[in-house]
Symmetry: D2
Amino acid sequence: MIITFKHSVTPEMQQAFQSKFREMHKQVVMSGLRMAVVGLDHCQFSDQESEVIEQIVSETPSYVQASRSFHPDNSTVQLPHSKISADTFTIMAGPCSVESEDHIRRMAEIARLGGASVLRGGAFKPRTSPYTFQGLGEKGLRYLRKAADENGMDVITEVMDETHVALVAEYTDVMQIGARNMQNFSLLKSVGKTSVPVALKRGMAASIDDLLNASEYIASGGNTDIILIERGIRTFDHKYTRNTFDVAAVPVLQKLTHYPVIVDPSHAVGFRDLVAPAAYAGTAAGASGMIVEIHDHPEKAVSDGPQALKPNDYLTMTKRAAALRKCMESWEN
Amino acid sequence: MIITFKHSVTPEMQQAFQSKFREMHKQVVMSGLRMAVVGLDHCQFSDQESEVIEQIVSETPSYVQASRSFHPDNSTVQLPHSKISADTFTIMAGPCSVESEDHIRRMAEIARLGGASVLRGGAFKPRTSPYTFQGLGEKGLRYLRKAADENGMDVITEVMDETHVALVAEYTDVMQIGARNMQNFSLLKSVGKTSVPVALKRGMAASIDDLLNASEYIASGGNTDIILIERGIRTFDHKYTRNTFDVAAVPVLQKLTHYPVIVDPSHAVGFRDLVAPAAYAGTAAGASGMIVEIHDHPEKAVSDGPQALKPNDYLTMTKRAAALRKCMESWEN
Amino acid sequence: MIITFKHSVTPEMQQAFQSKFREMHKQVVMSGLRMAVVGLDHCQFSDQESEVIEQIVSETPSYVQASRSFHPDNSTVQLPHSKISADTFTIMAGPCSVESEDHIRRMAEIARLGGASVLRGGAFKPRTSPYTFQGLGEKGLRYLRKAADENGMDVITEVMDETHVALVAEYTDVMQIGARNMQNFSLLKSVGKTSVPVALKRGMAASIDDLLNASEYIASGGNTDIILIERGIRTFDHKYTRNTFDVAAVPVLQKLTHYPVIVDPSHAVGFRDLVAPAAYAGTAAGASGMIVEIHDHPEKAVSDGPQALKPNDYLTMTKRAAALRKCMESWEN
Amino acid sequence: MIITFKHSVTPEMQQAFQSKFREMHKQVVMSGLRMAVVGLDHCQFSDQESEVIEQIVSETPSYVQASRSFHPDNSTVQLPHSKISADTFTIMAGPCSVESEDHIRRMAEIARLGGASVLRGGAFKPRTSPYTFQGLGEKGLRYLRKAADENGMDVITEVMDETHVALVAEYTDVMQIGARNMQNFSLLKSVGKTSVPVALKRGMAASIDDLLNASEYIASGGNTDIILIERGIRTFDHKYTRNTFDVAAVPVLQKLTHYPVIVDPSHAVGFRDLVAPAAYAGTAAGASGMIVEIHDHPEKAVSDGPQALKPNDYLTMTKRAAALRKCMESWEN
């Protein structure tokens, strides 16, 4: 239940409400004159209490913690070497999969050269078919961590499985939840109990509300270090692009939530020559950064080769995206 | 790699191929002159071997075990009280959630009365928002099992989580994988290692190929007791129906795979008054059965009330669907 | 504006309202205590008038004429040899295009044999590419009419173009508006001024509301002899079917409107072997009939060969659909 | 049929081919060693001819004139005051509908102030419901032309109807074909016979191929002054945006065709506060310009008020888009 108080309410009265519901083991979120009480389905207020309630806004709160109406200021996700928030621009780059110790090191160097402060790479891979490469597992995590450390970078990598959360958490700075797991609620609850920041990818058929509700599974466990990723949705047209890059989701999400929003142009379009224009579009739409796939020999990549940028194209792209971002930063003045 | 042999190949030669690849720890599936070897990316055949190979059909096999080309005959899923196959028609019915011991017993009686041989009911519920009812857990499983046993019925219930597989398997005859978990590959692998039949629901944005590839994760673990469920897909029009019931998926799947296909009209349409026409449509399209939600007081249901059929409407619907099915059975003669 | 009157209103008062608005050249639709006045954006009622108004239901009426709330009884489209309504079942069959005088005659005979009372065939063809067959034009209309007359059948054929309306109207019993022209408002207005029944196909991306609003363009010209056709919508999955057959649209439309609804399984699925199951599904969902493409040599058809049923398959399909329908007719008793 | 010639072919031989097919009344398009002959379904070449043919690329040419493979250089649409091509950036702005002589004049002044060289405004409006404002007709065209002339601007306005083509052509510099009419083939053919440039909007469910095929209807009539407009497609998510802005369609189209591509952020997103970010995204993706709706009192607009930018927001947006474009122009060096 979401309620708003009358202006006549005193801080003591509000405090009393809050204490009462917490004693009932309800989750309570307060913001100014607005209060959400989770699980208070059939609320009984005393006459005295009713007098200070202005309105019952909604019987069923959904994404309370994610909502700007409870958290008007932009939130920031702070990593050792990166800060992700509305007024920063962070590049996360690396290969789709960690392929070898040597390869991820080379990729980290290139990523860094293009301005990335976060290294991506999959050690556990969600693949449509069971007969394709499934990732190097813990060995991959080790290589990835080492390559990042050597280059003064943070790590982002996917966790696919509740049973791997503790293991992945040991090696990474950000745990990524993939599009196919966006509504794997057990996994969401599990990462919500850690203190590792979580990057949540929008599912292929997930509405904006679905994405924010999924984030609430993480937040309701206590972990609100959340980054949202727009990575394309599935539509009727997938001949020339793998998905449809929903670039307007960036400002839509920024209006509804305080979590930072970044874009994944690689998965959104799926073909190398379209990644740069999509990255520029995402930048110009106001994203707080991007996550992008790179590979020195994409034709030999163990996964997603067709969408990986080659080093030179990546370096050109990031230089241009940075120029766009710089141009935009002057707008605020 | 999928290859076909020339007609001149001898059984001994085929056997030799198979042994060789198995020694290389490859998964091999044979069917007549067709052979799939999983993970044989750059196959090197001796000159002698090459001579008996007619054609390399595909470098990358995807859903081999699901495919009719490797398993031309319809497969059957046998439960204690039900048989699900191309030429049977099975009704699975029950409430969305197990609500209480008493309630699930009453629902089981009604389900049985309408001809259902499988009782459905959720004990672990995947809900869009974390602030809604999440299921009774093991207690729910116990009530469900008891209600089914008292009525000579089988049980189907959802497993959402790898860590619950063993627990759920203890109580159920069929483990359901929900639409949101269709590409939760860890969960699929986990149920694939059990010997409990699995009912796999099509994801909201899953193509037919995605569904069959997901089934392959289960089958590649050794469990081929698989039922596929069409339950509606997400499209641009969701004002008057919750999803778009893709009824043509029934004959499409029956052409591509030997697994039985059933329909879920409740989730497909999402509103009570549309469930019966959708159930008739699915029946007439040739489904091997249906799974349907019922509730005696839908307005008080803890989940999905709007789509639950009331007892009388359920009884009318099943009588009519049975009449349609009977009409169709005379066609084969 | 849609208003409802209080029970205290007298017939004379209602009459006075109606006269007043008609004098203001407004279109008025009445049904019991409900009245819609088109274009009455900022209505000013006298105090006396206000007293008998119960409620302003909506400022902006949309599909008033199509709505069941203004026309509770099912409407019937009567053709010389066919009657299309909620409680009849009409088969419309024929080739995609009229190919020759001889061919359409042969197809008419087969269509008739399968129980069709309406002959379909395109003389003006809307083709995705300008470099494909565009139809025989008036010659085609002549052949079509003759073939129908010789077999005691009605004619349905597509009109693509405002400038052809008068010509097509001369030859046909039903003018079909194709999916691509569903929101060609000039064309809709134009057929709305004739007295020839119109069969309106749902557009590929048209919501249910869009379809009903499009029908309103026809009805507001005075022609309410309207048949609605569900023919599949465009979704993310079009590998194994050309469109997604939205079979639940049949009961949805029947709830919202009094116009008869038929299905087009040929365009919905696009492949011959799926047409029959889709036709059965549409029949079982309660459609008032179907329109289906047939061809004796589909591999040589000038258009849409892959989805045309061969004569024998058509005859089997119609026999079975008729059996399903007969089974359903016993339900009402 | 599309063929490629061997390098050994002489210009005389190519010429002879061309003459032969033109005599057969076939449409022929040549580009280097590549030749498309429309409607040559079962081509019979003499032995001598066959000798110089390298390959039959395709039996069924589709968008030949639109294709870069027949027209590698970017094409330019030249208007009196504007030039639309790959390396220019044109702003088209104005109200959704022409509302009055005075209003369109004021809007033209604001549009011009923001750098627009083309004035938009609808005189014939395609509206979902027949009971909403349908446009001022010829009077609207007159006002629009006058307002543009007074401000040294070009005019773009929609033509909905074959019978209006000549009338609209008299007043406008660019004829716009709306999304709902993208496959109104009669209308496309009709504007294809004029010499007025045509701006073709992508339909709500139109694939990239559909759009290019639709353009071919215009081009095959002789008019290749074509501009393509991405304006959002219909997807499952339309709660916070009216459509899904497919920004990646800009580089996709630029790869496939030589026609200039612009974006329509207003219709793509449908809500004022999202128009600017979408406009920036389209600019950064490389569009050749944009068409945008403005209104001084959007709450009183006769159509599409919610998506119209207010004058100040429009002026800020265009200044910023121009800055982004300028930033991008430095990239080529």
